[in-house]
């Protein structure tokens, strides 16, 4: 069972959350974007084996989105924060 720290509610079990995938995806500006940018945004993923920044929604709690940095090989949760928190690239 993953134990995920919600910035508002504290440590909560994984079953209280809904997974929402890669947190690094940015929606392109529809006014200026190209087909390839949309392909990139909607379909393509880095899918790294190792450190992954991702979104979880605390659906059975405060319903806020939580940003989680997790190791995909060990499931170790390295840090959590609000969605607009900056997770430095070089930090774990």
């Amino acid at each position: 069972m993953l134990l995920i720290k919600c910035p508002w509610c504290g440590d909560r079990a994984e079953i209280e959350y809904t997974y929402n995938g890669d947190a690094t995806i940015r929606r392109p500006d529809p006014a200026t974007t190209s087909d390839n940018d949309w392909l990139d945004h909607i379909y393509l993923r880095d899918n790294p084996s190792g450190r992954h920044d991702e979104l979880w929604q605390h659906t059975s709690g405060c319903r806020q989105f939580v940003k989680v940095r997790r190791n995909l090989r060990t499931h170790e949760i390295l840090r959590t924060g609000k969605t607009n928190d900056d997770f430095p690239e070089d930090a774990s």
Partner: protein, 417 residues
Amino acid sequence: MRYSIFSLVRNALSYHQDWPKAWRSPDPKPEYDVIIIGGGGHGLATAYYLAKEHGIDNVAVLEKGWLGGGNTGRNTTIVRSNYELDGNALFYEKSLKLWEDLSQDLNYNVMFSQRGVLNLVHTDSAIDAAQRRGNAMRLNGIDAEWWTPEMIARQVPMLAIRNDGYFPVKGGLMQRRAGTARHDAVAWGYARGADSRGVDIIQNCEVTGIDMKNGHVIGVQTTRGAIRAKKIGLAVAGHSSRVAAMAGLRLPIESHVLQAMVSEPLKPCLDTVVTSGVAHLYISQSDKGELVFGGDLDFYNSYAQRGNFPRIEHVVASILYLFPTFSRLRLMRSWGGIMDMSMDGSPIIGLTPVNGLYVNGGWCYGGFKATPGSGWVFAHTIAENRPHRLNEPFTLDRFHKGYTIDERGAGPTPGAH
């Protein structure tokens, strides 16, 4: 050596001490015509059909661990072709037809058992959807039967046919030609068949880089040195994104963990495969007597080959709702495998933007049943440098062009398929 009753008797006389090895373990040559990365069922089947159907036998299969040690050895061994969309239906039906003759073709018993797959439905709208799918299958020449709850009660007496609670059984769609097979035997049979036709199977050889020149592959770097080839096929589902990244490609795939488990062995009690889309579970009984079952993904990206307890609890609870009589069984093992979850729930088999590099991945939950068909069309794709009619729909560029094959209608959310 051909396996037969005579070879069995002959070797019994020498106490089974003199059986020859089923395949060689050669050192890699400096150059091959084709390199297949990944020594699971799909990679080995591809090499087999390259040699058998296309006469290309200067082929190496590179495997980082041991043959069939990835998802080939981790699935629930179900084989079926009960798909609605034409692209899926025709491809998986080709695969099922290959399964039907596979033991004879390989001279290796893959223990394919056409015990039928029953998809239970639990709501009135699901009856409509299942019958529609059954009709679509029959239009494509695939067998499908609608079973009423009374027929199910007669055929699967262990199943609790109740009309209350979350999952009342309202009927089911049966494909009788579907069934199960012995997963290890599939890898070993294809390995033996490919090896006997001259393919080099190289285990403990991890690919660490893909060499390219002017947009064309020229070879790979491995833990056993550089190997050159002008054509390279990826058959590494679970890790497709990682290997494709070596050639600078990003794929429409996320890797997720899917768990499966077995109970202690029982006397024969369940002679068909029972699945439920709503409860999302599938259960069958192996020839050893264990009940083999699984359910949903854990629903988060993972490369860990193990999952967590909430999913096991969910799967077991669903099983016990439908089969209350299994409540006192003990679980013997559970394990996880890494799924290539593609963005439309369908596989990707075809050319890539890199010349000479071919991809076979994105198998989601369903790679095992596709093994023969996948190898067959992938061999054609590599040999002819263009897809076969059966895998034309599964191109990598379908996402760009908008021709996704979304059997479940779940949209570009990999975990939802």
